[in-house]
Amino acid sequence: MMKDTADMRLERLLAVAREEHIDTSGAEEYFETRLLARIGELRDTPAWYAFVWKMVPMFAVLAVIVALSALTFNPSRKSDMFAAITNSQEMIFAGSYLAGE
C-alpha cells in the first residue's frame, strides 16, 4: 500500500516537473557574444601556456618521487667523502666562536 502511494506520488512529482516550463530566455540573451568573447580569450592564450598548465600535475608527481627517492636512497653523511673535512671545519668554527675570535 505504502509502495503504491510512493509510486503514485513519485509519478505525480515527475509529471509536475516534466510539465514545468523552465524559462531560460533571460540567460540566453547575448549568449553568443559572451561565448565568442571567451573563445577569443582561449584563442589568445599561447599553446605553450596551456601545455605547461597541463603538465603541472606531472611535474608535481615527479617532484614528490625525486624527494622520496632522495630521502630513501641518500647515502649517510658520515660516509660522504667530504664529511671528515666538513666536520672538522665545523669544529674549528665552533671553537673560534666560543673563543670570541
Partner: protein, 189 residues
Amino acid sequence: MDNSRQEPTDESLVSAACGGDDGAFARLVGNHKRRVFRLAARFARDADELDDLCQEVFIKVYEHLSAFRNDAPFEHWLTKIAVRVCHDALRSRRHEKHHMHLDDMVMELPDNAGNSKRETRQARQFLKYAMSRLSPDEQLIITLLELEEFSVREASAATGWSEANVKVRAHRARHALKRVVEEHDERYC
C-alpha cells in the same frame, strides 16, 4: 521558391565555422542554444552555473568541430556533448555536502499535477532535494528518461551506456528516488 533566402544548414555552418568563420559558429550556437539551455537547466543550481555549463558545452563543440562527421544530425552530437558536460558537473559536486535537508522541506506534495504555481514550485523543490540524494549516474538517467523524455535508445546514445545498462540504471534510480519519497511520507504524513 526563393532559394537565396533559405536558411543555411547545420552542415554548411559547421564547415564555415571550421574554416574560421565566427559568424557561422555564432549562428550555429543561436540555432541550438535553446535545447542546450533547457537540458542544462535541469542540472544547474543557479543562473551562473547554467551559463557556465552552456559555455562549456559550446566551447567543447568549438574545439572538436572538425571531428564532427555528417553521418548523424548535428543536434545528436551536440546533445551527447551537453549530456557529458552535465554529467561531469554532477560528478564534480559529488563530494559537496548536501545543503538541502529533509527538515527544510516540510511540505505536502501536490495531489494533482498542474496545480497552482506554488505547488509546482514546491514539487520542484522537493524533487531537487530528492535528486540530490541520488548518485550522479542516477540523477542523470532520471533527468533524461523521466524529465526530458528521452527514449532508452536516445539515452544510450547520449550517455554512451548500453541500452541494457540504461534500463538497469533507470530501474535502480527510480527505486532510490521512491525510497526518498517514502522516507518523506513516513516522517511527515
